[in-house]
Symmetry: C2
Subunit: 341 residues, 2 copies
Amino acid sequence: MRVTIRDVARQAGVSPATVSRVLNRPELVDEQTRERVRQAMAELDFHPSAIARGLSVRRTDTIGLIVPGITDLFFNELYAGIEQAAARHGRKVLMYNTENNAHRVLDAFSFLKQHEVDGILYTSALVDEDFDPLLSRIGIPVVLALTESTAKTPLPAFKVDERRAVFDAIAYLVARGHRRIGFLGARLPNEITGQQRYEGYLQAVRYFGLETGDTFVEYGNYRMESGYQAMRRLLERQSELRLTAVAAVSDEMAMGAIRCLADHGLRVPDDISVMGFDDLRVTAMITPRLTTVAQPFREIGARAVERLVELMEQPEMASAQQGVYYLPHQIVERESVRALL
Amino acid sequence: MRVTIRDVARQAGVSPATVSRVLNRPELVDEQTRERVRQAMAELDFHPSAIARGLSVRRTDTIGLIVPGITDLFFNELYAGIEQAAARHGRKVLMYNTENNAHRVLDAFSFLKQHEVDGILYTSALVDEDFDPLLSRIGIPVVLALTESTAKTPLPAFKVDERRAVFDAIAYLVARGHRRIGFLGARLPNEITGQQRYEGYLQAVRYFGLETGDTFVEYGNYRMESGYQAMRRLLERQSELRLTAVAAVSDEMAMGAIRCLADHGLRVPDDISVMGFDDLRVTAMITPRLTTVAQPFREIGARAVERLVELMEQPEMASAQQGVYYLPHQIVERESVRALL
DNA sequence: CTGAAAGCGCTAACAG
DNA sequence: CTGTTAGCGCTTTCAG
């Protein structure tokens, strides 16, 4: 049988209410009694039921986290930022993984509602008009990370400026003499980032007057294997393309591309330069070390949590806090890009 | 205000109990009423409170997961296995990250007790005698993954046979003519795996009569950076050691070692062979592709969850199910090991 | 400073 | 097949 607050009360010779007080507002309890109660708790190995408490106070101090998949390599960094920030604010996180399955996002919200989380952090996947009915009656704050909302209901969002980040990546290549630059993009249902990064590429291409066209770009799904395949398709046209560099929308895809290049006897960066995106921990270790644009994952996670906590504490603020907040990206220069003479 | 079962009852013109029935045992409810209730639920956007239910049935269908850190690259694979298996059995998982902080494991258990999880899955870190008092009054089943128990209370555990796995790795190197083999080990407080892997190395060294000694081994903490540093220390003695191969206790450390070797102008596997451990997804992409011993992370996670679910359903079985269950490891042959002529 | 009592939302007998 | 009732363990007025 579970040890309850009543057991502790009996053991300490006080009422349940007093036990509750030493748990929540110890300063209201006489020092002596407080100690007696604490001791009883220890003796009985009492663990107050967070779930009974939740029922009673109608608040669980829990953040619901919706992620599209957990085997992406960037996930860990994001999660670390989220969890630390949550802990800092005395919140725990309940994660729901949709496995990139669009229809599971309904489940996700329902699941989190059922568990009475006090707020929801939605990551990576797009929030579009389909969410409006959902959002209008959700009743708890929702904050976005690594994505944004195109729904009528705007939502606070934390991410890098995807277009500019890719633009900067291309500019970096251009500054090193590259003019024939391939693009390893990503296209996923319910996702906006791939599109925005592609736009960044296009903008740069136009701005710098580079060669381009559909034949310069191939798509994947952010994962290594897809980067490999996309690069292979580009390579099939390499005799016409004469790419000197290729920019990928993720480090995973860049790593796949490098693998593919190596398998075709091409060296990076000697024969072709490769630029990544994300700055995964591992990219500093591989050969060649990957030049990439870093996303501040941990900070994005932390900021999103902090905004969420604010909203949980003062829901009135909701309307004031809805824009997309861009966190700074940064080019980290390593070895996978070569300057053309 | 939250929509409750009473609201639905009123709307459907039935009693709360009936609503509860359509939620839990719909077959007990007349088809007509059932439909009426379902419709009321939809109209009101009703989400039954899992927390109120939990309080009432004294069961949350939740598995508590304790992990020592989430930024290790193997974590994702393990977690994927755990989550899928949990979902398959209608359980959710509540994760607690101790950040390798030994004293936080007490918090972990306390936290999970408070949240009334029905069972606990403890991963990676050792369970020693210090846990006995805890375990003796925990009151819910505990299962281990990627670790084992040296406590008086034995606990079911799922992992590979660490000693044999490393033995096999060394044997693989020996079969390819290597006799001067360095070892990149790991030593972490509250951890047993590193020790066991070291023993596997020693056994192999003895079995095959290899050169060895303290100077052949350096330690890290499983992470890439530590692999880099450990390799660097080995390299300082390389003129005496004349290592032709080095075996690491993790792919991360192996990758760090390869990086270190490259930084010192040594090529893998031409100048020195490197063997990893884990078979991370990324190791098939890097150059050179890593030869390693694969751990079946997903299956380990899945099996651990399944045992846990069994125990949650029939706690009497506890005493019958306590051994360490070894899942098969496997050597994955790739490019980082060269056969000496 | 402390206790009694009501209630959070749901389920589980027990009647009917 | 359905309703009534009594909790699950905790918090929170309201008295004292």
